[in-house]
Subunit: 364 residues, 2 copies
């Protein structure tokens, strides 16, 4: 097997602690001969700002571009609340997404059976929940120009953001959603605000066109506000939901929280396959953030981070069996009653980051 | 008392059925000498399109401008799914909001105790819930220009929407939120995406400035995606949430659904006080839509519509006592066990629109 390169970007807060557990896992898969990964490290977010006064250095962007997959922890914290806007920790994430062209953000919202009780929703509404939100990640209001604040004098300012979508951007993300639906329950909802946004009108027009190429997949349009309602009312009606960058941000967070398993949820962001090699740029990160309040205490939940690595095995390296094994190991330790503080339950054993990582490794 | 004018715009679907119950209520308050309302009627949405090929006629816009308050039902239905975009039913709503300048949309999300069980959330998380979402309603991406689709040739199009906010727009909506918080639990959250949007940066800057004028009100910033999460996780942490037009659309719908009382929730949209008379333009409507699936069956829940009328009494006519009586009558019939189909429960009596309206009237 040719050696494959992973760039690890732990970031800030609990990002660094949970990445350590992934590194142990990589050491083990390499030692077992299951993988042949060479890893490199970089700085992002506040850590990069402290070192280089930018949210991510050109060097690290270059490394990310060269890597077979990027494994990202989390960025941000109160320490960097007042750095210049263009260097704020989140800028690293936006820059990397754009530079890598990872337009397809897959955000599974699954409810781990052992954790159904942790959801704020009634158990029967979330038990067995398995939604995949497919969020467009490199377009829309996140990147459209103009994006600026103008001083109008007299204490007045005007701020502008621009939502832009072109046909090809919508077409390619829709195809990702429909392709994935075929591997799942064959149902796609597309969420937009076509009743008020022209980008929603185009979004819907293009997605409907793509839907025609997938006559075997059930397709439904839903307004984004109604999608938020329906996620709360009855999330199990959904299988795959495809939506734009901004709606995807909000709806995927709501969906993740519904599951009661927020600290457990990974995500993958994929680029277009390279025409020559068929390889996709790819970026993996937990859905949760850098949790400054619990950083440095060794109590963070490493599961979302480890599950993100499992997604890398699955989507970047086609190591389906190994990915399944990692996912099964996670489910097993939960079934054994091990919990980190964020998912602590009566009659279950609360452990720290290291112990949780070790337990998952032991299952493998 | 000088005669005050109400413009009733029932619209489509169940809009017409539930408005009838408000009319009966108005007849009664007039007959009792509690009010001296003169009412007029207009067409909006599909009904207006069928009559005049527009979503709302100039005549009716003029009437709305002249009225002391506008009472709006709901618009839309499959019949008008394919009318030209500028005449789609929703256009009536957008046009009227803009023409009347009703920038402050108050969306209470309260959980009627009798209905706590109907929520998809665990009872203890929603029982007693009382959030007020204050949504900016006449700016942002709903109205910013350019807003257009351009044909690029080769089957490619580009769609653009523009989010624009100016200082004064943010300032005035923030003041509405802080003023209202003082009549409630003295807490304001402001939700935006300042980590990716320049309009969010300005939004936050201006709201923080306003917060300084209200040192007695607790203030917190929250990112809109986190707000969606926190609404699901623990809605009772919120009192007043102020946010922009688009986030307000989504977050208020999610909040409304959380309560289990969606068919019961009213809304008010208020303009700036006229410098000469102190009067505000005002627009009242239920949070729910036109529900084409149950239209014409006499089974729609009129409570949100009646509660919207109660908001008119409260906010446009300062008839606090009468508004309180109407709200109490609603709570009473629910406590008596009366339910429409949407909130049907075992061991409760399911009634139709008319019977529910009559029961509320009887309580008065
Ligand atoms: C940190 C922020 C820029 C980011 C986003 O808005 O995309 C985050 O919320 C996410 O969902 O990954
Ligand atoms: C019908 C639609 C234009 C409207 C909106 O998006 O504002 C509705 O969803 C609402 O919240 O009143």
């Amino acid at each position: 097997m040719a050696s494959q390169t992973l760039l690890l970007l732990p970031g800030d807060g609990i990002g660094t602690e949970i990445m350590v557990e992934v590194e142990k896992l990589i050491d083990w898969t390499n030692a077992e001969g299951l993988t042949d990964f060479s890893t490199d490290h970089g700085l992002v977010g506040g850590a990069a700002y402290d070192a280089h006064q930018v949210a991510v250095s050109e060097d690290d962007v270059e490394k990310a571009r060269a890597a077979d997959a990027v494994i990202f922890g989390a960025v941000g914290g109160p320490k960097w609340d007042n750095v210049p806007y263009e260097h704020r920790p989140e800028a690293a994430l936006l820059r990397l997404r754009k530079e890598l062209g990872v337009f397809a953000n897959l955000r599974p919202a699954i409810c781990y059976p052992a954790l159904a009780e942790a959801s704020s929703l009634k158990r029967e509404l979330v038990e067995g929940l398995d939604i995949l939100i497919v969020r467009e990640l490199t377009g829309g209001v996140y990147f459209g120009e103009p994006k600026e604040i103008t001083d109008l004098g007299d204490g007045q300012k005007r701020a502008i953001d621009t939502q832009v979508y072109e046909t090809y951007e919508i077409d390619r993300i829709a195809r990702v959603a429909f392709d994935l639906a075929r591997t799942r329950s064959n149902k796609v909802h597309s969420a937009d605000k076509k009743n008020v946004m022209k980008s929603g009108v185009l979004w819907d027009e293009v997605v409907r066109g793509v839907a025609k190429d997938y006559p075997d997949v059930a397709f439904e349009h839903i307004l984004a506000d109604n999608a938020a309602m329906q996620l709360v009312r009855n999330p199990k009606q959904f299988d795959v939901m495809v939506t734009d960058n901004l709606f995807g941000d909000i709806l995927s967070d709501a969906a993740a929280m519904l599951t009661g398993s927020l600290g457990m949820l990974p995500s993958a962001s994929l680029g277009a396959p390279d025409p020559a090699t068929g390889k996709r740029k790819a970026f993996y990160e937990p859905v949760h953030g850098s949790a400054p309040d619990i950083a440095g205490k060794g109590i963070a939940n490493p599961i979302a981070m480890i599950a993100s690595f499992a997604m890398a095995l699955r989507y970047s390296f086609n190591m389906i069996e190994l990915a399944d094994r990692v996912d099964a190991a996670i489910a097993d330790v939960l079934a054994d009653g091990l919990r980190t503080g964020d998912i602590a339950q009566d009659n279950r054993k609360t452990v720290g980051t290291e112990e949780m990582g070790a337990a998952i490794l032991a299952k493998l």
